[in-house]
């Protein structure tokens, strides 16, 4: 069962109805059953693996609470090794064996829930939280169906308290809460079905044979890919957060207008927040963070970003992508004094709109360039694209070639219109204006037509069903 499917919507509505009908005491069990059903529908063996992984981390955490420091460390390290070995085995066997092992069945969402387990073990080891005794609650934390496939990578400290009977007692059937969740889901589906999957048709066509197109077209599709990956991943996060919201459960935000970031470090505070904060809390800070000198700080940054690249996939392109972001950050930090002097010399006001706009633009260009590494199949493709960039063939942007990449004129217009809407919504969000809240405050006869039109627009203009092969969420593979 895909999260973008009619079956999932039926499944979710059924779950919602049952969830609000049963007493608080059973809500946890209902959500766990729904989560296992959802995950099991992907593949029954994935579910078996999930159950084993859950039991191991649950048992390890409980064990740590009953033993002394040295033994505790051994158990902690062992449990981490087991989790990371499983991740390495499934995800990196092909890469590490140089392609000799290639057909391992990668359980979907493994990177997400194993990281959640690792975070939980670290929190228990460092005493930030108490090991959970209730197996159902812990199993639900690991397998919570809105987040299991593509995050956000939640923290036990946020989720486990919400799964207690007392917390469930606070959750009432509240139509405005369900509506807000529904609207959030709608926005997610819009980003995924109307934008990401539409853009992917165009991007795939060009990136599958870059030598057939000029540099200008490749550049445009690269920028479009920058939006595709945002819409794809943020779309999933919005859906997950919306589902959780309808259930009365708070899930952390994962994206905050990332392409309005004014620097690369700012970008990482806005992009995939749950992962970057995970690396910050469980890798960067334990490595010493910025407490052990400048050089060590730069090394730590590079380690974190190389690992982040590796987390996204077993391949040199991912590692290079992570490394490039690390280099961006290091160079940014090294050049900071020079940039400041330069700005002072020119008497530039850092807070002025024009300076901020230039910063946003430069950051966007750097991020877009890095995404090329993320999109290509292998390093050779990077060189091929590089060669093509030397031959811009500008006319391809105007001679109708754009309409021969899998999208006709009407579809290109929908794509462009959707992107403009996305930019406007993000700009308003940045200023603290939340459109969904503005609509929710309106009267019913204004509100409903907007919601209904949105549903119909997504169903009619979304790329789903049999007409096109809906590409899976890009982040499923991580």
């Amino acid at each position: 069962m895909q999260i973008v499917s009619i079956e999932f919507l039926f499944f979710f509505i059924c779950t919602l109805v049952i969830y609000y009908m049963v007493p608080a005491y059973f809500k946890c069990a209902v959500l766990l059953a729904a989560s296992y059903l959802f995950y099991g529908s992907q593949n029954i063996w994935y579910l078996v693996f999930l159950a084993i992984a859950t039991l191991l981390s649950y048992g390890s955490a409980l064990w740590m609470t009953h033993i002394q420091d040295n033994h505790k460390k051994v158990v902690f390290v062992l449990s981490l090794v087991m989790n990371l070995s499983a991740l390495g085995y499934f995800k990196y066997a092909g890469f590490l064996s140089g392609g000799r092992i290639s057909s391992l069945l990668l359980p979907v969402g493994i990177s997400f829930y194993l990281f959640m387990s690792c975070g939980y073990l670290a929190d228990v080891y460092h005493g930030r939280i108490i090991a959970e005794k209730n197996l159902l609650k812990y199993a639900l934390f690991v397998s919570f169906f809105p987040t299991i496939l593509s995050g956000p990578i939640e923290r036990a400290g946020n989720m486990l308290p919400q799964f207690s009977t007392d917390s469930f007692r606070q959750i009432r059937f509240d139509t405005s809460q369900i509506r807000d969740g529904f609207v959030r889901m709608l926005w997610g589906y819009f980003l995924k079905l109307v934008l990401a999957d539409r853009i992917s048709i165009l991007v795939d066509t060009v990136y599958n044979s870059p030598e057939s197109y000029g540099g200008a077209l490749i550049l445009v599709t690269s920028v479009l890919y920058t939006f595709q990956i945002y819409c794809d991943f943020a779309g999933y996060s919005h859906i997950a957060i919306g589902i959780a919201k309808a259930l009365g459960i708070r899930v952390m935000e994962n994206f905050k207008c990332p392409y309005l970031a004014k620097s690369i470090s700012d970008f990482w505070r806005r992009w995939h927040i749950s992962l970057s904060s995970w690396f910050r809390d469980y890798v960067y800070i334990p490595l010493g963070g910025n407490r052990k000198g400048t050089v060590r700080k730069y090394i730590n940054i590079m380690v974190v970003f190389l690992l982040s690249g590796l987390w996204h996939g077993g391949g040199w392109t991912f590692i290079l992508w992570g490394g490039l972001h690390g280099i961006y950050q290091v160079i940014g930090a090294v050049l900071m004094p020079i940039r400041r002097k330069f700005a002072d010399g020119l008497k530039l006001d850092e807070q002025s709109r024009s300076v901020r706009a230039v910063k946003v633009l430069v950051t966007f260009c750097l991020v877009s360039t890095a995404w090329i590494l993320f999109r290509v199949e292998n390093l050779e493709a990077v060189f091929r694209i590089g060669r093509q960039l030397l031959h811009p063939k500008m006319w391809e942007l105007f001679d109708g070639t754009l309409y021969m990449l899998g999208l006709d004129r009407a579809n290109v217009l929908v794509m462009l219109g959707g992107l403009i809407l996305l930019v406007i919504v993000d700009l308003l969000n940045e200023r603290g204006v939340i459109i969904s809240k503005c609509i929710a405050r309106e009267r019913l006869w204004i509100r409903w037509p907007i919601y209904i039109a949105a549903v119909l627009f997504i169903l009619i203009c979304g790329i789903w069903g049999s007409a096109y092969d809906t590409s899976s969420f890009i982040y499923y593979q991580f």
Partner: protein, 504 residues
């Protein structure tokens, strides 16, 4: 109370959503299936014969002609690529709406040994399987969800994801949003559908250079019982249970292969075993009910001329063997008469407004129109073997060959008293001739034909030359279609590429 109000609002919201999705689904739906079966749904309780099969049936049998000629009510359920497996499920769905007296099953591709259209044999290109699934929609979209439809989809499609697009085709058709037209918003009525053809489709074009390659007769049969043959057994069983007569056919193809001959032999055996009528229209070239050179639109599909002949032949057999009722005088079947009249009117319109010589000659033949055809001396038309072939079909004589050897002129008056009839009186003249006092339905007719001049006068009205040599002196060929009062319905002349030049 507040909870009830909230729940009510949610329910109302979803009712509105579902209603609008339903409307959107109707608008975006591809209309092929509704167009094909629109009349079936309207007339299902009056249908005596169902024709099942592939595009050979779709383009080969014209139910409205069958009604006009024999008074037999029938419907053409043929679809492109339709194998016996699909015919079985088409029949099962149709039987939910009607109980015909007779089912005619065409057995093209009886040797096909698979049933899943999304897999086929397993080695076809993806484009073929996608096309095969897409074509199934023509025969499936029309049926509302029912046990039969679900069983059909489960039986013909293996992929559960693809099955969904048949159960709720909005999953497939919503992406048509960018290509919908104003027609998609209009309710489907008879004018929007295929109108009067009752499920059939006519191919006007003539296959100009047919390669007629018939496999040799053989005594061999298919080496194994195919999946399609198993489904033929199912069709026979269903019809037996419901007292429906079954006729097996193999419609003509200009090109046939060994497996077609073997299939025909196997069908002959099946027909003998089950005491069924088998109409094999795939004999050797010389024995065919059609002319492969004038009646095909490609290697395997009949054009409108061939469709006329095959329909006439099959109708005659059905009448002869099963004594199916003639509904032409039955007032309860007035809508069938309307369809037949619409078809006639449309065909006559086409006859009067045709742009291509071959098609015009073919239409004159199958519509049985009253006509005057004149080819001047040295006419290039006389040197075109296909034109001569059409003329010979019209006359049944070899006079046109004499005209060819004499290099014209040539005149044909095909007299059906202005009615559409296939039993004409033929007046034909080759070479330089003058004839007076011919009694045609126009009146006493005079023909003068010399190398540089020709005239057809009626009732000694020498001021009115039907051939109007002042205007048409240089035209190689003139075709005049006549109405019941002798009035000129159309006067067509053709250029040397046999495209119409002008119309008076």
């Amino acid at each position: 109370m507040k909870k009830l109000y909230s729940a009510g609002k949610i329910v109302l919201f979803f009712i509105i959503i579902f209603a609008l999705i339903g409307a959107a689904s109707n608008i975006t739906e591809r209309k092929d299936s509704r167009k094909k079966y629109h009349d079936f749904m309207e007339l299902s309780d009056q249908i005596d014969v169902l024709f099942l099969g592939s595009s050979h049936v779709l383009n080969g049998i014209n139910p409205v002609q069958l009604y006009a000629e024999y008074g037999i009510t029938s419907y053409n359920m043929g679809k492109p690529g339709g194998m016996v497996t699909e015919s079985y499920w088409t029949l099962m769905n149709a039987l939910d709406y009607c109980t015909p007296k007779c089912v005619v099953v065409d057995l093209w591709a009886l040797d096909r040994n698979y049933k899943y259209l999304d897999i086929m044999n397993g080695y076809e290109p993806e484009e073929d399987t996608r096309n095969s699934v897409s074509l199934l929609h023509t025969n499936m979209d029309i049926w509302p969800i029912s046990k039969t439809k679900i069983a059909a989809i489960n039986d013909l499609i293996s992929d559960p994801e693809i099955r969904k697009e048949f159960l709720w085709n909005f999953t497939l058709y919503h992406s048509r949003w960018s290509s919908i037209t104003s027609g998609d918003f209009k309710p489907l009525n008879a004018q929007d559908s295929n109108g009067y053809l009752l499920g059939a489709e006519q191919r006007q074009e003539l296959y100009l250079n047919p390669k007629v390659e018939q496999a040799l007769d053989t005594t061999q049969i298919l080496s194994e019982k195919s999946v399609c043959e198993e489904y033929l057994d199912k069709i026979l069983e269903v019809c037996r249970q419901r007292d429906i007569e079954v006729v097996l056919t193999f419609l003509p193809m200009a090109v046939s292969y060994d497996q077609d001959r073997q299939a025909v032999n196997r069908i002959t055996e099946i027909a003998d075993e089950n005491n069924l009528l088998f109409l094999n229209l795939l004999p050797q070239e010389t024995q065919s009910v059609i002319d492969y050179y004038t009646d095909m639109s490609d290697d395997t599909h009949l054009n409108v001329n061939g469709m006329y002949k095959v329909t006439s032949y099959i109708g005659g057999k059905l009448r002869e063997v099963f004594e199916l009722p003639d509904h032409r005088e039955d007032d309860n079947y007035a809508r069938w008469k309307e369809k037949a009249d619409q078809w006639r009117t449309s065909e006559v319109y086409k006859l009067a407004n045709q742009s291509d010589l071959y098609t015009e000659l073919g239409e004159i033949q199958y519509l049985g129109a009253s006509t005057i055809i004149f080819m001047r001396g040295d006419s290039k038309a006389l040197h075109d073997s296909l034109v001569r072939r059409f003329i010979k079909h019209l006359t049944g004589t070899e006079v046109i060959e004499e005209a060819y050897s004499e290099n014209g002129p040539y005149l044909l008056i095909r007299d059906t008293s202005g009615r559409m009839s296939d039993v004409p009186v033929i007046y034909e003249f080759s070479g330089e001739t003058q004839v007076e006092g011919m009694e045609t339905f126009l009146g006493s007719t005079t023909y003068i034909g010399v190398k540089d001049f020709a005239a057809v006068y009626v009732n000694e009205d020498y001021d009115n030359n039907y051939l109007d040599m002042e205007e048409h002196y240089y035209d190689d060929i003139q075709i005049i279609i006549l109405g019941q009062q002798g009035e000129v319905i159309s006067h067509l002349c053709f250029d040397t590429k046999w495209q119409v030049k002008e119309e008076n």
